[in-house]
């Protein structure tokens, strides 16, 4: 039952990811990507990581993708305007795809599993409470830095997108 | 009190010199360099009393790098040479009006600091840092205060910088490799590394590139003459008096004990190369029109002989190399100072514009003559002691080395006397030449006193360095 669910979700994930790339219209790409993200959220739910799934939906589908859509619309990119790609580009893309897939899979196959049997510790490790404790005890400093990073990127984004007054 | 005290004085002196301003810079530099010399003597005294003067401090945990300054006979004698020559060099610049004097003297002090650090460091990484650090001040000294056309000066100074720097990089690689093998940069640990002949060969080669360029051994010498000619005399003195010795000291301290096998295997090639430099430099010196260039080539010849002695891997050779390093340090500083004095008065280093000076300045002539004689290794000067041991060690290896290397005493006499004749003798020069002042003479007197005293009684130095040289020799022979 879960396996079937996994296959369905995986199929959606992969398909939408492909469509994201092959859609000529950027808006379509964005829509497919949102779907992709939702399917990944479904994966998270299967892991019983509800909090993560929710955050994922909020951040990716909610924030990032909206931002992208806004930008696309801002730039009026909702039409197909990509020039014909050269053969070289296509070939290099395909080669990269195959190569990375091959290498990664080879590496994973060759790797020895650390744990031979799937264990169940029985302890709670992914509830909001536990995650909050881990985040604010063990990962306190990175957490603060993440906030600083966000602040900085916010300022940066504002500065960058602000219209410059060329003649003062 | 340990050896780092001297370094601190030098570094502090550099800073102080910079901050007291142009007017007092030379005096401050002289004061601090003399203080450093006094401290070096005191440290040597403590060392002779059997007290430890080493400093060991952890610096970086991984990779394991220690700040380890080691005072033994070899490093202390070089420290003494450095700190003794620095005040002399500073004193030699006193009469010149130098723009931006505080930077100039501060750089000299900083250079002395870096060189002293090179001699003292027992940790390969720190040693490397000091080694490269010493390149920076001389670069600026030569570039900013040098003589001649700025464009060609910049060219030759940059050539010098890149050239020596490129050589040193190989040394760094060798050190990193050694660290991989031994997990330490400390020289005593590196000595103990049991390297295969193959590894030794590459490490030896890497060190050799660094040192051959610095010494320089032909065919790596092309930077030398131009830089000597173009840098201010104080810079030339630093280069020829101390900096070249860094390389020979490093051969004895690092290269030979760490990788002795190739040194023994390729001994004939190495000595042959060094002796070729001796002959080549001597012959080149015969036909130079520029006084400083001539002295540069003579330095090439002398230093080639020293390196040849070090590569004989005999006690005599190593000891001779050490003695000759000190002797050559003093004599070459003296000779360049003489060139500087002439340059001050005639505003040129062209030999053809000199001549007829002796008649106007008996004192200067006498001093210059004694230095010339010391440079051609007249017995009873310090240079003879060194040269004798060097040639004797070469004779032990192969008599022909001594015969061919020994031609330096003929060719040396040839070019030095020829130079002396053209510069000093003959009918009175049309341009006036004021005899040297007390301050100028004082520098000469110190140098000459050192040369003559140790020429007749080198035993203190010999006794001081021999035990440590024997230790080094023990390391060199550890594979046999």
């Amino acid at each position: 039952m879960l396996l079937t669910l996994f296959y369905i979700l995986s199929a959606i994930t992969l398909a939408t990811a492909f469509l994201t790339i092959f859609s000529k219209n950027p808006i379509h790409s964005a829509i497919y990507l949102v779907l992709c993200f939702f399917s990944i959220a479904g994966h998270y739910l299967m892991f019983n990581a509800q909090f993560l799934a929710i955050v994922h939906v909020i951040v990716y589908s909610g924030a990032i993708m909206i931002l992208m859509l806004f930008t696309i619309m801002l730039m009026n990119l909702n039409k197909e305007d990509e020039k014909n790609k050269s053969m070289l580009t296509r070939i290099s893309a395909v080669i990269s795809f195959c190569l990375v897939a091959f290498v990664l899979l080879a590496a994973f196959i060759k790797a020895q599993p650390v744990i031979t049997e799937y264990k169940v510790s029985g302890q709670d490790y992914q509830s909001i409470k536990v995650l909050g404790q881990v985040l604010l005890n063990e990962y306190m400093v990175p957490f603060e830095f993440a906030s600083v990073l966000l602040l900085v990127s916010m300022i940066g984004a504002v500065l960058l997108s602000k219209k410059e007054h060329i003649n003062n | 009190m340990d050896v780092s005290f001297v370094l601190i004085i030098l570094l502090f002196g550099a800073a102080a010199t910079f901050f007291v301003g142009d007017k007092w810079a030379s005096k401050a530099a002289l004061f601090f360099s003399t203080a450093a010399f006094a401290a070096a003597i005191y440290v040597t005294y403590l060392f002779n009393q059997g007290m430890g003067v080493d400093l060991t401090m952890n610096w970086i945990k991984a990779p394991r790098i220690l700040i380890n300054f080691q005072g033994d006979g070899l490093s202390l004698s070089m420290l003494l040479l450095t700190t003794a020559l620095t005040p002399i060099i500073i004193l030699a610049s006193f009469k010149n009006s130098i723009p931006k004097a505080r930077s100039f003297y501060a750089l000299i002090m900083f250079m002395a600091f870096a060189m002293a650090g090179t001699f003292l460091s027992a940790d390969g990484f720190v040693y490397y840092i000091f080694w490269e650090l010493s390149l920076i001040p001389i670069y600026f000294i030569a570039l900013i205060w040098g003589s001649g056309d700025a464009e060609s000066r910049r060219k030759s100074v940059i050539k010098f910088f890149i050239y020596t720097f490129a050589g040193s990089i190989f040394m760094l690689i060798a050190f990193i490799y050694l660290y991989q093998r031994t997990g330490s940069f400390l020289n005593i640990h590196l000595y103990r590394a049991f390297l295969t002949p193959q590894e030794q060969f590459w490490i030896f080669l890497a060190f050799f590139l660094a040192y051959a360029i610095k010494i320089p051994i032909i065919p790596f010498h092309t930077w030398q003459a131009n830089v000597y000619q173009k840098s201010p005399t104080a810079g030339t003195m630093l280069l020829s008096g101390i900096m070249l010795k860094m390389a020979i000291y490093s051969i004895i301290r690092w290269q030979l004990p760490i990788a002795p096998n190739p040194a023994a295997e390729y001994m004939y090639v190495l000595i042959g190369l060094c002796i070729a430099g001796v002959i080549y430099g001597s012959i080149l010196a015969l036909k130079q029109d520029d006084l400083k260039k001539l002295l540069a080539y003579s330095s090439l010849a002398h230093v080639g002989l020293i390196a040849a002695g070090a590569y004989t891997l005999t006690l005599d050779g190593l000891r001779g190399a050490f003695l000759q390093m000190i002797a050559h340090g003093f004599v070459v500083v003296g000779l360049f100072y003489a060139a500087e004095i002439i340059q001050r008065r005639y505003n040129t280093t062209e030999i053809s514009q000199m001549g007829g000076i002796r008649i106007q300045t008996p004192k200067f002539t006498s001093m210059f003559m004694i230095l010339v004689l010391a440079s051609v290794a007249l017995p009873s000067t310090f240079n003879f002691v060194g040269e004798f041991e060097l040639l004797y060690s070469m004779a032990q290896t192969n008599i022909w080395f001594a015969v061919i290397g020994g031609t330096t005493i003929i060719l040396g006499a040839f070019y030095m006397l020829r130079m002396f004749q053209q510069v000093m003798l003959g009918e009175q020069n049309a341009k006036l030449f004021a005899d040297i002042t007390f301050g100028e003479g004082f520098v000469f007197v110190i140098i000459i006193a050192v040369l003559l005293f140790f020429g007749l009684y080198p035993k203190p130095i010999v006794d001081f360095i021999t035990p440590d040289l024997q230790k080094i020799l023990l390391q060199i022979n550890r594979f046999n």
Partner: protein
């Protein structure tokens, strides 16, 4: 609480993430539209996130999920700045085809 991996197996997740990641790479190389390239990057990031969560479960350890939070934060920041740059580029060049952005070449 049971472990979902007992039924599905970690290998499947590995293959899924690898494929997703490769699709991302393919997209970055294939497309010339900067925004779509951004999306491809997001796909790659998500592939990694997914694998992190899978291994978090595999080890029964929260650290993996914490890392996902961080990577999300970084992704958000990256997108914000990246899009701002794109807007600036667009303002100057009137398109965002990366083939036009060659001013930095040697």
């Amino acid at each position: 609480m049971e472990n979902i991996l007992q039924q599905i197996g970690i290998e499947n997740y590995i293959y899924l993430s690898t494929l997703l990641f490769c699709i991302g790479i393919f997209g970055v190389l294939y497309r010339r539209n900067a925004i779509v390239m951004f999306m491809s990057v997001e796909i790659m990031l998500n592939a990694v996130n997914l694998l992190l969560v899978a291994f978090s479960t595999y080890h029964q350890d929260a650290s993996g999920q914490v890392f996902v939070f961080f990577s999300m934060a970084v992704a958000a920041a990256e997108v914000a700045v990246g899009l701002a740059i794109l807007v600036a580029v667009y303002r100057n060049l009137n398109n965002i085809d990366i083939d036009n952005l060659k001013n930095l070449k040697g």
